[in-house]
C-alpha cells in the first residue's frame, strides 16, 4: 500500500560524505529494497550488496543501519523515518556498502 510519505535514506559515500535520498514509502519495504529503488531510479552510482537468499540466512547484506549492525533485508522501514546506512566497522571499504 503506497503512502504519500517518504523514507529518508542517508548513505555514506566517499570522503565520509553522506548522500541523502527520498524513497517513496511502501508497506513492507526493507533497506535492501530501498537501495534497489535508489539504484534503479535516483542514482546509478551507488554500490550495494547483491541479494542472495531473500530470507536473512546468508549474511551477504550485512551493514550498519543507524549505528547498529543489521541485515539490509531484515530491517523493515517505517514511513517518515530516517535511516543512516554504511558498512559495518573494521571492514576495508571498496565503495559505499561494498567491502573487501
Amino acid at each position: 500500500m503506497k503512502s504519500n510519505k517518504n523514507v529518508n535514506i542517508k548513505l555514506k559515500r566517499q570522503n565520509q560524505i553522506y548522500d541523502e535520498f527520498e524513497v517513496p514509502f511502501e508497506e513492507g519495504m526493507s533497506i535492501l529494497s530501498a537501495l534497489q529503488y535508489i539504484y534503479e531510479n535516483l542514482d546509478r552510482t551507488i554500490a550495494y550488496p547483491v541479494c542472495l537468499c531473500r530470507m536473512g540466512k546468508c549474511g551477504a547484506c550485512i551493514m550498519q543501519v543507524n549505528g547498529k549492525a543489521q541485515l539490509g533485508c531484515a530491517v523493515k522501514l517505517a514511513a517518515g523515518e530516517v535511516y543512516v546506512i554504511e558498512t559495518v566497522a573494521n571492514k576495508e571499504v571498496i565503495k559505499d556498502l561494498i567491502t573487501r
Binding site: 519495504m29 547483491v50 536473512g56 540466512k57 546468508c58 549474511g59 551477504a60
Partner: protein, 560 residues
C-alpha cells in the same frame, strides 16, 4: 598495447558455489595449480549458501556408510529409480548411476570435514528417508574452509568470467573482469571447469541470488558445447509482494507443511481442477502451471499473483507450525513484512527455483570441448526434466569432485596456450565502449525488459507465438548492446555489471525459448498452451547448439 592483467594457472574453476569449491579441492589434491573465480565472496556466493537444505543419499548407505539410523531396505538402485521417475525418464542414466554410487562417500566426507547434520526426513518423491538436513550456509562454509586450508588455491573474489577462449577446439582460458577495480583480467589455463549454477535470475521473480544469470551456460554455448534439457525449469510459489520478499519461498513452505490454501480472485481453490486429491500439496510443476494460467487469464491480484492463505488455521495451531520454519534466523522474520496472516493471504506467483538442464556432460563431466568441464546446476543430464528434492546438494559434491579430477588429469598433459593480443584487445574494447557510449541505451531498462519477457514467454506456460517473440526481443536487445551507456567509474560499477550481463541473458532466454518451441508437447514443468498433451515421439532429449550464430536443435535418444 594491452594494459590488462594476465594470470596463468593449471585448472581454472569458474564459480565458487558448492560444485566449484568441491572441484577446486579435488583438482588441488591431485597436484594441479588451481584458481577459482567468484562473483562474490567465497562461501557466500551462489545458490548453495541459500539452500535449506536436504542432501539426498540412499537410506541404506545412511546406515552402512554414514553410521546413522537409515533404512537398509533402500538401495542405490531404488534411489536411481526414484531420480529417473522424477526426471520423467529424461535423465542421463550413466550420470545417475555415478551420482547414486558416489553420493554417500562425498556426503560422508563433508560431514567428516565438519558439516553439521540437523535432522533426517523423507522428501517428496523419495520412497525412503534419504534427506540428510544440513543448513545451506553450514554446507557452503564447510567447503570454503577446506578451500582456504589449501592455501595455494588462488581465490579471486569479485572477478567475473566473461567468455571462454577457445583455440583450435580447445579451451585455453577466459576473458574476465575484476568488478572491484574494473581491471580486465585474462587468465590462461590448461583446463577450465564451469560451475556457475543456474540462470533463474533471467526471471523477475526467483528464489535464487539476483546475480545468478547462467553466465557459465551462455559462455559454454558460445564456445560450442551442446546444451541439453534447457526447456525444463522448476518453479515454486514465492512472494510477489512486498518488494522486500519478492521470490521468498514462504508461500511454498506454507502449502507443503502448514495446510495453506491457494485461491484465485474468485475465491476458488483452483488446484481442485488440476489435482483433486492433493490440491495444494501437489507437485511443484502442476502448481506452477495452474497458478500461471490463473494469473494470465486475469484471475490474479494487483501485484501479479494468486493468494496463499492460512486464514482457516487456528492461530494457536499456526504458531506451533511456524516453530519448525527455521525460527528467527539472523534476525529475519517473514511475518514482519507481511500483513496479519490470520486475516490476509500472501500474494504469490511461480518463482524460478532450479535449472534442470544445462551443459551436456558425460560421466567424466567432460563437455565435448577439449579442456572444458562442467559441474553442478549449470550441467544437464542428472536431473532429467525435473529434479528430485534434495538431489542438488549431493550432486554438486559428486560432479564437483569428478570435474576436479578430470580437469587436473587433462592439465597434467597439456601446455599453456599463447593468447592473441589482437583478439584480447578487440574483446575488451567492446566493454570499455560502454562508458563513452555510441548511444544512450539504458542497461537497467533493458535488463528489466528481458526479465519481464522471460516471465511472459518461458515461464511455466508457453506457446509458439510467445516463444518466437522471446527470440525477437532478445535479438533486439542484443543489437542495442553496442549502444549502451554506463556512467563512468571502474570501481564496483553496478550499471556496468548489468550492461555486461545482457548478452548472457539474451543467450539463455533464446536457447530456452528455442528448446521450448521445438518441444511441441507438454511434459513436466514445460507446459505448452498450444500442445497440452505429451507426445510419445518426443520422449527424447532436445539439445541446442551454436551453429555459425544460429540456434540448432536436435532430438537425441536418452543417454544411457
Amino acid at each position: 598495447m594491452n594494459n590488462y592483467k594476465h594470470l596463468i594457472t593449471d585448472v581454472l574453476v569458474i564459480g565458487s558455489g558448492g560444485a566449484g569449491m568441491r572441484a577446486a579441492i579435488s583438482a588441488h589434491d591431485d597436484g594441479a595449480k588451481v584458481m577459482i573465480l567468484s562473483k562474490g565472496r567465497l562461501g557466500v556466493s551462489g545458490s548453495t549458501v541459500t539452500a535449506c537444505a536436504d542432501v539426498s543419499v540412499d537410506s541404506n548407505s545412511i546406515t552402512k556408510l554414514l553410521g546413522f539410523n537409515g533404512d537398509i531396505e533402500d538401495s542405490k538402485e531404488k534411489f536411481a529409480a526414484d531420480t529417473i521417475k522424477s526426471g520423467w525418464g529424461f535423465n542421463h542414466k550413466g550420470l545417475v548411476e555415478v551420482f547414486v554410487d558416489q553420493a554417500p562417500q562425498r556426503v560422508k566426507e563433508l560431514i567428516d570435514w565438519g558439516a553439521k547434520v540437523e535432522n533426517f526426513a523423507i522428501s517428496p518423491g523419495h520412497s525412503y528417508r534419504r534427506a540428510i538436513i544440513i543448513k545451506g550456509n553450514n554446507f557452503a562454509h564447510t567447503l570454503a574452509r577446506q578451500v582456504r586450508l589449501r592455501s595455494d588455491i588462488r581465490v579471486l573474489e569479485g572477478v567475473i568470467a566473461l567468455d571462454i577462449i577457445v583455440k583450435n577446439g580447445r579451451a585455453t582460458g577466459v576473458y574476465a573482469v575484476n568488478i572491484m577495480n574494473g581491471e580486465f583480467t585474462t587468465i590462461s589455463a590448461k583446463s577450465v571447469i564451469i560451475s556457475t549454477g543456474g540462470a533463474m535470475s533471467v526471471f523477475p521473480v526467483t528464489t535464487a541470488p539476483n546475480d545468478l544469470m547462467g553466465d557459465g551456460m551462455s559462455m559454454a554455448y558460445r564456445a560450442g558445447v551442446k546444451m541439453v534439457d534447457m526447456e525444463f525449469q522448476t518453479f515454486l510459489m514465492g512472494c510477489c509482494s512486498p518488494p522486500s520478499l519478492i521470490g521468498n519461498n514462504y508461500p511454498f513452505v506454507l502449502m507443503c507443511r502448514a495446510g495453506a490454501h491457494l485461491y484465485n480472485r474468485e475465491g476458488e481453490r483452483f488446484m481442485e481442477k488440476w489435482d483433486p486429491e492433493r490440491r495444494e500439496k501437489s507437485t511443484r510443476d502442476k502448481i506452477a502451471v495452474a497458478s500461471t494460467l490463473e494469473i494470465l487469464e486475469g484471475r490474479g491480484g494487483r501485484n501479479g499473483g494468486v493468494w496463499v492463505s492460512v486464514r482457516h488455521i487456528p492461530k494457536n495451531l499456526f504458531e506451533y507450525y511456524t516453530e519448525w520454519y527455521e525460527g528467527k534466523k539472523l534476525g529475519f522474520d517473514e511475518k514482519d513484512f507481511l500483513p496479519d496472516l490470520m486475516q490476509e493471504g500472501i500474494e504469490s506467483m511461480p518463482s524460478a527455483h532450479f535449472w534442470n538442464g544445462g551443459i551436456r556432460i558425460n560421466t567424466e563431466c567432460f563437455t565435448g570441448i577439449e579442456g572444458l568441464f562442467a559441474a553442478g546446476e549449470c550441467a544437464g543430464g542428472i536431473h532429467g526434466a525435473n529434479r528430485l528434492s534434495g538431489n542438488a546438494m549431493s550432486e554438486i559434491l559428486v560432479t564437483g569432485n569428478i570435474a576436479g579430477h578430470s580437469a587436473a588429469c587433462t592439465a597434467a598433459s597439456v601446455p599453456v596456450t599463447a593468447m592473441s593480443k589482437e583478439e584480447e584487445y578487440a574483446y575488451y574494447k567492446k566493454l570499455e565502449d560502454m562508458f563513452c557510449g555510441n548511444g544512450n541505451e539504458d542497461p537497467v531498462i533493458l535488463k528489466k525488459k528481458l526479465q519481464q519477457t522471460a516471465w511472459e514467454t518461458i515461464g511455466p506456460v508457453r506457446e509458439q507465438k510467445e516463444l518466437e517473440r522471446a527470440i525477437r526481443i532478445c535479438d533486439e536487445v542484443e543489437n542495442k548492446i553496442p549502444y549502451l551507456r554506463c556512467h563512468e567509474g571502474r570501481v564496483y560499477n553496478r550499471e556496468w555489471i548489468d550492461a555486461m550481463s545482457l548478452a548472457n541473458m539474451c543467450d539463455i532466454i533464446r536457447i530456452t525459448a528455442a528448446a521450448a518451441a521445438h518441444r511441441k508437447e507438454s511434459r513436466s514443468s514445460h507446459y505448452r498452451k498450444d500442445y497440452n498433451k505429451s507426445v510419445d515421439d518426443m520422449f527424447c532429449n532436445i539439445t541446442v547448439e551454436n551453429s555459425n550464430g544460429q540456434l540448432k536443435m536436435s532430438n537425441c535418444p536418452i543417454s544411457t
